[in-house]
């Protein structure tokens, strides 16, 4: 039972990160209708910015994370401004290929600056809290709490502010949004900036628990795609729920079956969804 609880907490921590990454992906998909393959690179860049702030500038963890979020907001926004905006109205294949171009640009840049070596990110939160026989590092608690805070913040932004409502309106009907006077380009830019923020938060939070390296985003982005397809492309609750579910399934399979099996779960789910219902399990009705 203790093992189960322990793994449950670990799964929730991992799921928090999956959900944050999937949220950015699903928001961008909702607005742009393009799968942003470069989203995993934003997550990777977020982790590196935090790493640099901590090790080279001696910043505190919270400051490092704030800087990472700010930098990635700009990076995410400029992706839209420099590239995706220019591919508006063209075949979606073009945008997908451009996204791959940016993915490899960012990975290549990280490789040139930091090399392919794995970096350990120091965390000030190394103390272990024991509760009901389950020991949790403070960093994991921080991951869970901060992720929930970010999700609540995102929810309030989407539901309570004009900007957020414009994002939802544009996801529902781009032309309709344009007709009622929404500046769709500004909204697209903002959505990308928000996706950068979410990726930076995810990358910075998980960095001390995992290792940082140039292609660290490749596997998680694939999982985020599986989550987003499961939860319905563009669906915010779907991305959150899917993130936690996938992470729990992986952690439990890794504990009770085998690590190799846990790695295959995301892929098996993807095949299953495609065979059973290619449009996604929980896709919103229009």
């Amino acid at each position: 039972m203790t093992l189960f609880l322990q793994q449950f907490v670990n799964g929730i921590a991992l799921g928090s990160v999956y959900s944050l990454v999937a949220l950015g992906l699903t928001l961008v998909y909702g607005v742009l209708k393009v799968p942003n393959f470069a989203h995993g690179a934003l997550y990777m860049a977020g982790a590196y910015v935090t790493y640099v702030m901590l090790t080279s500038f001696g910043a505190s963890y919270m400051v490092a994370m704030a800087v990472s979020i700010a930098v990635l907001a700009v990076l995410g926004g400029s992706m839209e401004w420099l590239v995706f905006r220019r591919l508006e109205g063209k075949s979606p294949v073009h945008a997908m290929i451009a996204a791959l171009g940016m993915l490899f640009f960012m990975e290549g840049t990280a490789d040139v600056i930091w090399g392919p070596t794995f970096r350990q990110v120091p965390s000030p939160f190394n103390d272990v809290v024991t509760l009901l026989g389950v020991s949790i590092t403070e960093q994991r608690i921080l991951v869970i709490v901060a992720a929930v805070a970010v999700m609540v913040g995102l929810y309030l932004l989407l539901k309570r502010t004009l900007v957020g409502m414009s994002i939802e309106a544009m996801a529902q009907d781009r032309e309709g949004a344009l007709l009622v006077g929404i500046d769709t380009r500004r909204v697209a830019l903002l959505t990308f900036a928000i996706s950068g923020v979410l990726a930076a938060a995810a990358g910075s939070l998980i960095a001390p628990l995992l290792l940082v390296f140039p292609n660290m985003g490749e596997l998680i982005i694939l999982k985020a795609f599986v989550i987003v397809i499961l939860g319905g492309m563009g669906s915010v609750p779907g991305a959150i729920l899917g993130g936690y579910l996938l992470a729990l399934a992986e952690t439990m399979a890794g504990t009770y079956v085998s690590f190799a099996f846990s790695e295959l779960i995301a892929f098996a789910l993807l095949v299953l969804v495609l065979v059973v219902r290619p449009t996604g399990l929980f896709e919103k009705g229009v």
């Binding site: 795609f225 995301a266 095949v271």
Partner: protein, 318 residues
Amino acid sequence: MEFPRARGVGVSLLLLTAIVFPLIVDNPYLVSVVVTAYVTAIAVYGLDVMLGYTGQLSLAQGGFFGVGGYTAGILMASYDVSFWIALPVAVAMTSALGYLIGLAALRTRGDYFAIFTLAVGVMIVIIIERWEDVTGGTDGLIGVPAPSGVGPLQFDSLTAQYYLILFFLVVTIYVVWSLMDSLVGRTFVAVRNSEELARAVGIDAGRTHQLAFVLSAALAGLGGVLYAVFLGYIGPAMGGVQMTFMMLVYLMIGGVASLAGPLLGTLLVTGLMQVLQAFAEYQMMALGPILVVVIIFFPHGLAGLAGHAKRLFQRRGG
């Protein structure tokens, strides 16, 4: 589409250049660079069959390249199977895998198709890396022998291997050309342009996609086999997503949906990368933005530019 005489002359000249190339260039290094480009180009033609002619972005191409290379490489290095048996087995294996994956992947189109094939590509690498007993894991396998001789023909020398691979490249281009020129090829394009319309006139869009996907996988497999045999080595990188990305760069720079594009782009970019080898560490950093610029400003690549120039010239002339 009839074959214009000017084009016939052009193709003959190109083929002649390719044939005399290793005889006049007394530089083994340069020849081996060109051979590597030929091998990759075969797989790039496969990518073009999907992207150019059916409009679907298949991101499993590197994975299929790896499956072809590993199947032949393992058979030849670990089981002493002859190249002439390993080659058809590996290509059949990749085609069969393409067919099976196509059954699931082709239930989707566009973005879902790209995501699914990307997942397939990543899974293939994971399997290659984990199945250490057979594949050699992350280290790969060395000692893939050169093709054994056939009658009086020996394939030990670089020049002989050059001609062998050129032969497969010519066959590839011929197959793609004759297919695209046939009714089947036109159904590919009809499905790309409007699947609904194609279905309405009685084209079985599902079968068309399946056929294109299998052909695409088979060509990737063929390229992979030749790559493994030419380098004498197989490693997980040959099946990686980065390999798919490189193929995409070659294809987009050369020109998608054109017969010359894949070869042109592969030769040019591979050649440039060799010239700029001092800057090899910046390769991905540079190729990423180049791909983005090509997509935004020259979506039809060099072949498209050439066509554009020709039309401009004809308009002035006439």
